[in-house]
Symmetry: C2
Subunit: 464 residues, 2 copies
């Protein structure tokens, strides 16, 4: 038996029409009259399924097949009959239907529509629905597009560690990682938990960012990126935050904030274009059933020259419209999602880079501008979602960096290796972070991060 995937039936239908093919998949719907039945079969290779026609005088196990429950797995061999006048371009007339795996009448995914909340409780089965099949195919395509983009641009992919001995950038609450007995940990003479007896001989946590390690690699390879899991232990019940998520963090040497923005713009456009070309049916589904403006919005991003505005200019624009905001802005305040969306949707109608934020609201490693008040930070805001990328030029000047670390009450000795990068051939450099789930949400119109992660980990939830 040579299996043909349903995606291939569509891409090679001219060639395969009239031929005998074997398809393997799961029954989405099934109906029959006395001597004739129809199965809508899906195999996950593409959004679309294929209709199987089975007849009592063609297959010996007609009764068995006709009784199949939704969700059953079957192997069907038959002629691919082109049907140019019908809605579907072809169907398969079964010469043989082998029941590979039964299902039952209590299969949770019956034809009726299920709520996303319910489907989260059966995360092991929900990829068999249209919505999640499409979402995870797009997630996969987007991940590949990220790798392809950076590979074509000669970046080195680096795996930065997840278990870390230090809370490097103070970007958020961290999970502890330990092999100590929680019930009765070893203690030092003074009674403190004795982490010298822990697996790594010190207290360790799950990382919140691979940036500092990526900077080490950029100082050797020039252009690097990470793409790996990241963690936040903040208790959060929003639609936008997960405790475990994937992040992309490019870092480029001999580069400033302008180069950083050029890279981010090129990457975003590349990924959107790739996904639209690779997953047109999946995108069309989301455009029709989840987010009517999706295709227009994505196309607009591809076609736009992203706008650029400084934080200070942005605040001037926003202040004039403070009456429209729940949180009023003034110079020095951080931008909320309402402000970000106003800027990118109402003011510019396209993606916009906001640069040069007040130093007080950004991280210690961002490069101080000459005004002494702002740092060379950049956020990319996109219509429909707000911030999707955050980055900066990094402070390469040792004296300025040391002063910033003092301001942030960071211990110099914990960052000896990070400071070494400035001691030995430091260069201008810059980078950014892209939350991968936020990108997938943007590509699909899905509103809840729990629905773009195969098995989401959020506050209070680590099922499956």
């Amino acid at each position: 038996m040579k299996r043909t995937e349903i995606a291939e039936l569509y891409s090679k239908k001219a060639e395969l029409g009239g031929k005998t093919v074997t398809v393997c998949g799961w029954v989405r719907t099934i109906r029959d009259s006395k001597a004739l039945g129809f199965i809508e079969l899906n195999d996950g290779s593409c959004f679309k399924g294929v209709q199987i026609v089975f007849e009592s005088d063609k297959i010996p196990n007609f009764t068995e097949v006709a009784k199949l429950n939704v969700g059953s797995a079957v192997v069907v061999t038959g002629e691919l009959l082109l049907t140019p006048e019908a809605k579907q371009p072809f169907e398969i007339h079964a010469a043989q239907v082998e029941v590979e795996g039964q299902s039952t009448p209590d299969y949770p995914l019956q034809k009726k529509r299920h709520s996303l909340e319910y489907l989260r409780t059966i995360a092991h089965l929900r990829p068999r629905t249209n919505t999640f099949s499409a979402a995870f195919r797009i997630r996969s395509a987007a991940a590949y597009a990220i790798h392809k983009f950076f590979n074509e641009n000669d970046f080195v992919y680096v795996h930065t560690p997840l278990i870390t001995g230090s809370d490097c950038e103070g970007a958020g609450e961290m999970f502890s990682v330990t092999t100590l007995d929680a019930d009765n940990p070893p203690r030092t003479e003074s009674g403190a938990v004795d982490y010298s007896q822990d697996f790594f001989q010190k207290h360790t946590s799950l990382t919140v960012s691979g940036q500092l390690e990526a900077e080490c690699m950029a100082m050797a390879f020039g252009k690097v990126y990470t793409f790996g899991p990241t963690f936040r232990a903040e208790k959060s019940y929003t639609q936008r935050h997960a405790a475990e998520f994937w992040m992309i963090e490019p870092e480029i040497a001999f580069a400033d904030l302008q180069d950083n923005m050029k890279l981010a713009e090129a990457m975003i456009k590349f990924v959107i274009r790739y996904v639209m070309e690779t997953c047109p049916d999946d995108i069309a589904f989301f455009n029709q059933f989840v987010d009517k403006g999706l295709v227009d919005r994505l196309q607009n991003v591809i076609d736009s020259d992203f706008a650029r505005v400084t934080y200070t200019e942005a605040i001037e624009i926003l202040k004039k419209n403070n009456d429209q905001f729940e949180y009023k802005v003034d110079w020095g305040t951080d931008l909320q999602t309402e402000h970000e969306k106003y800027l990118t949707e109402k003011v510019y109608g396209k993606p916009v880079f906001v640069t040069d934020y007040p130093k007080e609201i950004k991280a210690f490693y961002m490069r101080m501008n000459d005004d002494g008040k702002t740092v060379a930070a950049v956020d990319l805001l996109v219509p429909g979602i707000g911030e999707i990328i955050g980055g900066s030029q990094r402070e390469e000047r040792m004296d300025v960096l040391l002063q910033r670390m003092k301001d942030f009450h960071l211990e110099e000795e914990n960052y000896w290796w990070y400071l070494d990068l400035r001691r030995y051939g430091g260069t201008k450099h810059a980078g950014y972070g892209l939350g991968f789930e936020r990108l997938v949400m943007y590509l699909t119109g899905i509103a809840n991060i729990r629905d773009v992660l195969p098995f989401p980990r959020t506050t209070g939830t680590a099922e499956f």
Copy 2:
């Protein structure tokens, strides 16, 4: 300034010869006489560097440049002069040398050779050496090759969770993940640590495998793979074990052990071929300085039809040579590295799949063979290293699986979702796991796993 990377100088030298170019990089070596100096400049874009010639009558800051320490970062603009008669195909005659970042005389990477042990203590700088520059470029290329292979074969890339609520396959010791106060955790009335107050409202750990979740996805998409970090909390000081490493786990539906082996063979050959084509200089370096047989061994893998032998046959072969082994084999014993290497190096002289192991020494989810004694497991052994891949056909029959879980003392209710896959349209399926670091060791000849991970986490060590 338009920067040209050194890799591009090599790939476009015919076109760039005689032109003015700007290169940015780090000084590997520098020497000068009165009015003339030479810099070996490397920018990490490829293994090779470029020689910079600078002269006192051409650049105004000759004295400054001549005094530069190794490791300094410079931006050089000058003419690319082709030197077809010299060892290097070209050099750059500097018209301008901008010092981007100073180094110091105590820069740890002076020209002398350093031990790998010492370089591990400066993991933030070691990517600037030949060995680690080549190793991490190969690591990056191999990672891309993995994605490219599965993408070209229409697999869906899935991100399985790292934080897990269950020790699913008992594959090893696990790290606990927690936000509880280690010094004074909340307690239940009975005095036990109260995990209901932990972040996920239960005890959680770092995963040892994404396989069970990947099986869920394979039952929707047909062909999926994971590529992500995995953890083992076993105390181990060997050269082959890290506490945090990356693993690739494909899972295919409507597929048996034969399909699994076909996939593994195709993948291994694809990745080796890709890396040899993409990183010839890096491979040549390892072949010359680290492992003289490297290229021959890799080429042999590409050119071979992998052998296939059952465990039972392999034991017969090995038993005849038991006098050569530290651990004597008999039917029922697990194979040690010495046996694996004997089989693949001495008996076959090429990669060999060993299949159908005794059920007692393999995991509960592996499919029971008709003999009732062995399971449809497969290990791929390769010359020079032994086992590189372990996989199996999965048990799809509910009754057999339940019995196996009983034998392994696994609680049914912890696997309700895994069992659902057999309740609802289960199919024959199979998959395997490939330790990515072991693959990179194989591709480079590097003997210690600490030297193929950018910032290794091993027993007692989580620096940087």
